[in-house]
């Protein structure tokens, strides 16, 4: 195993935690980690040795998550009309099942917008500094803190009410 792979291996526990905070359940989270690893191994030449591999990897996990959500939205929109009623029915049913099994924290995280969820995952779950999180997401620090404030308010409301 080379240095790149060794370092990735030591990052995996954190990457799984980050993915867990983004995705809806642990199976989705590990699928996300797998997709991110595949992408990272293909793109390893783009990582500059000496720079932080953890930020680079978290960015890849986050991008994979965005891609996955987009393709889900597309799939949901592309049902052919005859199947639509049935599909919507089973989707709704699955939705109910998923939510029934969710922990209060997962339900609260699930209620956030993707923008809020990723900043909460980076700052509150992964403990990144605001500057690091803003750089990773390529957003101004003011945007980061306002998403963080709104995400926090929503989470606190849901969790304190429960």
């Amino acid at each position: 195993m080379q240095a790149f792979e060794r370092e990735l291996l030591t990052l995996l526990p954190r990457l799984r935690r980050f993915a867990r905070a983004l995705a809806r359940d642990s199976a989705d989270a590990d699928d996300l980690v797998q997709a991110a690893l595949e992408r990272a191994l293909k793109a390893r030449a783009q990582w500059a040795p000496g720079t932080r591999l953890d930020s680079w990897m978290m960015k890849i996990v986050r991008n994979c998550w965005i891609d996955e959500m987009r393709s889900r939205t597309r799939r949901a929109r592309t049902f052919v009309p005859e199947e639509e009623g049935e599909a919507v029915g089973s989707e709704a049913h699955r939705e109910i099942e998923i939510r029934a099994e969710m922990h209060a924290v997962e339900r609260a995280m699930d209620s956030l917008t993707p923008d809020q969820r990723e900043v909460i995952a980076l700052v509150l779950v992964e403990g990144l500094a605001y500057r690091e999180a803003a750089d990773l997401l390529d957003i101004p620090i003011g945007t980061l803190t306002s998403r963080l404030t709104r995400g926090r308010q929503a989470l606190a409301q849901m969790l304190e009410a429960a």
Binding site: A21, V33, L37, I120, L124, A129
Partner: protein, 233 residues
């Protein structure tokens, strides 16, 4: 006046010393503010308690396997019509170089997996035992040496490919024992899940194809060959 943004920055450890002191003074004087800060801290603690254990879990084996670069990924052996392996200078040179390297490292102590007898390389010790007795169809997943394909060569000798951490190779049973026809550097993780059917080493797999007369042995043929002591056909 301390607003929520400042309180949040305090809870996230984003304030400098002066900022922290200011918040602490304000919180001490204002129970409402203290309650808001405690809410922020509870939220952090709730998230940490829920997501933290994921980072403590054992990393799934499939991720380890993905990062194991010593494993040669599955690649079908391409037949190269009109250019047998043994005439391919590059392949032969590579084999010779590896053979020489083996000669230096493995052959000098008598206890290595290879002995030289009358100028040929003969498997000895655990490698010879694996070649003699181990069945590809029933080998322990953690076996130190793994047997790949068994087959009859055109000259009637029975041959087997093998893989271990130290080396991969192809050996044929002759009068002196298992003669090593070719060897290559092994890959360091013989126990990993990714495994090519014949041999993890494409060079070894190709050599086996070149030498093979007919089909590789199935489990029954392998068992018969072993029970007959790998005698010539």
């Amino acid at each position: 006046m301390i607003d929520d943004d400042v309180l949040m920055a305090y809870a996230d450890g984003e304030l400098d010393e002066i900022g922290r002191a200011r918040v602490e003074r304000a919180v001490a004087a204002d129970p409402t503010l203290r309650a808001r800060l405690e809410q922020q801290q509870r939220l952090r603690a709730t998230l940490a308690a829920f997501y933290g254990p994921t980072a403590e879990e054992e990393v799934p084996e499939r991720f380890r396997a993905m990062l194991d670069t010593n494993v040669v990924p599955f690649a079908p052996v391409r037949a190269r019509p009109g250019r047998p392996l043994w005439q391919s200078f590059a392949a032969l040179a590579a084999t010779l170089v590896l053979g020489l390297a083996l000669g230096r490292t493995l052959l000098s102590p008598a206890a290595g997996p290879v002995a030289v007898e009358n100028g040929t390389m003969i498997a000895q010790g655990p490698l010879a035992a694996s070649l003699d007795t181990q069945l590809a169809s029933a080998q322990a997943p953690d076996a130190a040496t793994r047997i790949g394909t068994s087959f009859a060569a055109a000259d009637g000798r029975l041959c087997r490919t093998f893989d271990s951490a130290a080396m991969a190779g192809l050996a044929c049973k002759g009068d002196q024992g298992w003669q090593l026809i070719m060897t290559a550097a092994g890959h360091a993780a013989p126990q990993s899940g990714y495994r090519q059917a014949g041999s993890a080493n494409p060079l070894v797999a190709q050599a086996a194809q070149e030498l093979m007369a007919g089909e590789p042995f199935d489990a029954a043929a392998e068992l018969r060959a072993r029970d007959s002591g790998w005698r010539h056909r």
